[in-house]
Symmetry: C2
Subunit: 469 residues, 2 copies
């Protein structure tokens, strides 16, 4: 067995030499931080812990709707995790959050059909919706493609159930653009329908996938407009209902929802840092949102962003890197139905400091990173893109102008600092988003860890060099 | 309801106008084919049929090991599918293939352990392996990290079972590079072990994932070297076995495999075309391999490549595009354990023509396309990369030198023509590859269809312009 040992040492020696070489052949004057970036990428892929953390957050705790016991457990988990990892200045920041509950009943049934008799439709209440009376609401279903069509139809649809059925455009490569093109039906559909006297709305689920799983998400009401119930319908049943209307002419549905909004409750953002070694008074935020909808596990949305934010700091610590400025991981509460965490955070910073210079958010799912979208003056975005070479090895080198993130946006608005969103491969996201499909098993370990590496590299370089101008 | 109809017509009018505009605002002199590329992408994402075809091939037929009844069914399916789609010159090309069968028994059991008593290890025979005697082989397990270590140890391991346990390097961003760095243990492990008198080999599964599913794959024997049985062991059990050896010193395993090789049987490549409108005598091949291992569904490897090759032609037909040169979809048989289909195809072309000018293969899984790797003179690769702008809209614009594909490689060797591999996002592939995890549900519809679009665009441009020089 001694020969084995000798051989093993020989092999280990070879590997060590390679590692050493990788560390020493850089930084060159022209491409600083390149060897550090490579080291962060390799370490994230070989020894990353984001996936393990996500397993805890999603399988041990589960979905984490604002105000729920699970959201409270997630806050405790976040704090304990940061303490265990030796982060500095770990603390909670109180946030009052809405407390909407789904309740046990959500059904929609076609009734009195001469073709199918009755038929159950797969639906779920949209977040924030009022419920129906216990025995439900009955109305004729009117299919529309847009808010404008509802305005156009006007009082003709008084007393009816409006069925918004404009699909996300599957022909767009970027699914977020497709989502953006359809989601106003969900967010404002009940308002426009109520204005013309409709009694409820059904909204085609926001996904390009054909399946039987409804996708929830936020909807809004407007002052002085009647609050009517709103539910998402699965894409398969949306097609079924549309076809039934075409063939039958008049289709009636009985909709029952037990959801309701309770008084606001206290919750919290979770904050932890690596305090800067030279300029600790300047902060770069890395964040995701800790709350999720009450469907699936909230794995991609946005357990991923939370564990990546923690992992980015852990990676830098584990490599012994000492950022000059302070890097702060923030797990924001209540992005999904109020964004109170992000607002509260920015308000606190406005009153009490410290000075923030940039913020990075991951909230597009834990998929293969592709780059960053930067909300800043175009000159600053240009300057950020000088760092693209750091992300070429992982093919995440698209640094482009764009939105930063919902939770960090108040920082952009209050202080004009650059806010930066992690861009990821988007094809799968809306298959899972806000639905029972958003579970831990849909997350690939390597993709998730690589996203954490991308955030760690960018945050570290900003911490060392400041925001480029 | 008439107002609804009017409104719908209004909306439809708007969309039609957009489509028309998209078609007319191009081609400009400087970026030819750009509007066609966009149309192909949009059509693939909105109305693609690759996913439906893959469902038939994987869920209706299943895994398709060369020589199996399922492989024969897949040949019939391929031919019928091409006929149904109206392809020209649909035909089968006979290929004699190896006929290896797994049989019902594959077990490995730790015996006589003072620590655990006995323990079942999750294993599966490597493809092409001989079986063991009915009651199995018993041997002490010697863990090694490489073929070189086996040579180094030499006769010290006579009579033992060699356990190759060098993992794929998880730190590499490109998992194919990690696979390339580990796979010689699987392909040549039994040869080197037998040369020094070992009685069997266990090989750590080729995946960076830790789980309980063994990954099969091809292994080889060499003339005049004893043929010893070879099995893959799951990564979790590889770690278990390694730890047990560390603690116990001497660990014995009883390995039982019922696999065996039967006489070669006839099978076939499936061929269908769009005959060129102006230069039909010049052919561009688009291909994948129709056979798979007998684990999972052979969905990513390589059901995906087959349906993408068919779909690429179908897309062009459905858009009324008339390629000047002939585009030929080829579903190659027997890539996994012999590559006979690719060899037979090239031999046939050598004898009977027609002239081939390029070949494109998809065999890296049905994931988000990233570009193409081109095996050709560097000048030609450069020229291909002038077309990168056609793939920017789908972020698949990396055209780089590299390997084309196993099935089309004989065309490169015989005729020196460019062979081109579809590059895809690689993080998930080896989680599934050659294992029970390679099932239809692991394929994302949009990613798959987009790969077909990428192949269609490149093939069409070559068909119109010829190979660039």
């Amino acid at each position: 067995m001694q020969r084995l040992l000798l051989f093993s040492l020989f092999i280990f020696g070879l590997f060590s030499f390679d590692l050493l070489a990788a560390q020493n052949n850089d930084p060159s004057a022209s491409r600083p931080y390149l060897s550090i970036a490579k080291q962060i990428i390799e370490t994230a892929l070989s020894h990353g812990q984001a996936y393990e953390m996500l397993e805890e957050l999603t399988l041990d705790i589960g979905p984490r709707l604002s105000g729920s016991p699970e959201a409270a457990a997630a806050v405790a988990w976040g704090r304990q995790t940061m303490l265990k990892l030796g982060f500095d200045n770990v603390h909670l920041q109180e946030v009052m959050v809405p407390h909407w509950v789904r309740g046990p009943v959500e059904t929609a049934r076609v009734i009195n059909s001469s073709i199918v008799g009755t038929a159950e439709l797969t639906v779920c209440a949209l977040g924030g919706s009022v419920g129906t009376p216990e025995l439900g609401i009955i109305g004729e279903v009117v299919e529309v493609q847009s808010l404008e069509e509802v305005q156009f139809l006007g009082k003709a649809i008084r007393g009816k159930i409006i069925f918004y059925n404009r699909p996300m455009n599957p022909g767009l490569v970027n699914t977020f653009a497709a989502y953006g093109g359809a989601v106003n039906q969900r967010s404002r559909g009940a308002i426009e329908a109520a204005k013309v006297g409709a009694v409820a709305v059904l909204v085609r689920s926001m996904t390009t996938r054909l399946d039987q799983v409804p996708h929830t998400g936020a909807m809004r009401y407007e002052e002085n407009v009647t609050q009517i119930p709103a539910a998402a319908i699965s894409t398969i049943d949306a097609n079924f209902l549309s076809d039934l209307i075409k063939q039958e002419g008049k289709v009636e549905v009985n909709l029952r929802l037990s959801c309701r909004t309770l008084p606001d409750v206290p919750s919290a953002n979770v904050v932890g840092e690596i305090t800067g070694s030279e300029i600790p008074e300047e902060v770069i935020v890395l964040g995701g949102h800790l709350d999720s909808w009450d469907k699936g596990h909230g794995a991609h949305d946005d357990g991923a962003g939370c564990v990546q934010s923690i992992e980015a700091l852990r990676l830098l610590k584990s490599l012994g890197l000492k950022p000059k400025r302070t890097l702060r991981a923030v797990l924001f509460m209540n992005e999904e139905n109020g964004a109170r965490g992000g607002k509260t955070y920015a308000e606190y910073v406005e009153k009490h400091g410290p000075k923030h210079i940039a913020a990075i958010e991951s909230d597009r799912g834990g998929f293969t990173p592709g780059g960053f979208s930067v909300k800043a003056d175009s000159g600053i975005v240009e300057s950020f893109s000088d760092w693209e070479y750091l992300f070429q090895a992982m093919a995440a080198d698209k640094i482009i102008p764009g939105f930063g993130g919902v939770d960090i946006n108040p920082l952009a608005e209050k202080f004009g600092i650059p806010t930066i969103g992690l861009l990821v491969e988007s094809h799968r996201y809306f298959d899972y988003h806000h639905s029972d499909h958003d579970t831990f098993d849909k997350v690939n370990e390597r993709e998730l860890e690589l996203g954490a590496a991308a955030m760690a590299i960018l945050a570290y370089v900003i911490a060392m060099e400041g925001v480029p101008d």
